[in-house]
Symmetry: none
Subunit: 195 residues, 2 copies
DNA sequence: TACGAGCGTACGTTATCACATACAGACGGC
DNA sequence: GCCGTCTGTATGTGATAACGTACGCTCGTA
């Protein structure tokens, strides 16, 4: 048995559970799916990895699409972070705090964070990551107060409710020039193309 | 080439489309996925049916889960929501209104929109596109009230402040079950660059 | 023209998938 | 007890999945 078979053994377990839930024997499912019973046994025990062809036939025998069968095995297409279980970002700079709102999943393409800036405060101090990976884009929505975006040497004034999008791989930071607290939402979209 | 290979050739075509959309050569994808370039070529042309092991590795190299990759093939027709078509205005459904906050730029990878749901209202009525392009991910942040997310037949209760991330190419809609108005921010991250 | 670098694909070998057959154990019936 | 039948699994064989290598091809560049 190969290592890979162990890793993605989950489908086998899932197939067996579904088969038994439908009260089918291996030979029953073999007839329904057109896959031999010994093959089904091996797949269920994770001894072999079926081809997409036979996997699709097995799924059909279980009255499922292959993607449905696999989605049961892969962990959730949906993941939730509750309002009270957020990750606090490090407060590298006085007057700046933020929390990351999106779940910490691998392969996440967009990260949502909420930033709070005290009067006069700026994001991205010396210890803070000032930019992101090449090709990344950042979108910011001002939720309260006024904010100044400094991006690549340019200065952009943003008022309450404004939304701005810019290349996140440029050097940038936000500043709160007003006398009141400022809040903004930031969305960092990962760059798709690497070069 | 077997008959079965012809039948489910769709994945191969889809893999090639996705690979080219990401501007990857066969050898690039081979390195990212750990599957040899000749094998990729054969799979793309439908000459062989890969095992679930290598199919999963190929999907990972395309930054997709295998179920996502297969769903693209099974669904056949690809439905795309263009920003221009719904950039403005209230939804077709009573009690649901929204506005798109991000600038209408080409190449925008994340679209931010704010939705308001009256008590009992739902998003995505009969005339509304219920899902997004293949591979897209959606993140929603509940800003006030309570919201129920219906995604792929499952039901998820979201409270004020909750943040949820899910596959936006699944059939989904939001519902406001409570007696008060509900507001949520939605971020749709594009799946892949389109050629 | 010649060259190197990139592309996708044809080739031959090895690993393994998938099958038909055969087996050991559990249950029920005359 | 001795069948007949069901269960899931071990066995051996042919088909093929997956690999490493190498070929023909098209570009820029010298």
């Amino acid at each position: 048995m190969s290592l890979g078979a162990i890793v993605q053994n989950g489908v086998g377990t899932r197939i067996r559970a579904l088969r038994e839930a439908m009260d089918l024997s291996l030979r029953d499912l073999a007839e329904r799916s057109g896959v031999s019973a010994p093959m089904l046994s091996q797949v269920e025990r994770g001894e072999t990895s079926p081809t997409l062809q036979v996997a699709a036939r097995i799924a059909a025998g279980l009255e499922l699409r292959l993607s449905q069968l696999l989605r049961l095995d892969e962990d959730g297409a949906v993941s939730i972070v509750r309002g009270d279980e957020r990750r606090q970002g490090p407060s590298a700079v006085a007057g700046h705090s933020y929390e990351i709102l999106t779940p910490p999943l691998p392969g996440q393409r967009a990260e949502l964070s909420r930033h709070t800036l005290a009067p006069g405060a700026v994001t991205g101090g010396p210890g803070d990551p000032p930019m992101h990976e090449p090709g990344a884009r950042e979108t910011a929505l001002v939720q309260s107060g006024t904010v100044v975006l400094h991006c690549d040497g340019q200065r952009y004034e943003l008022l309450d409710g404004d939304c701005v999008t810019f290349d996140a791989d440029l050097n940038h930071h936000f500043e709160n020039p007003g006398p009141e607290k400022a809040e903004l939402l930031a969305i960092v979209s990962a760059g798709l193309r690497r070069s």
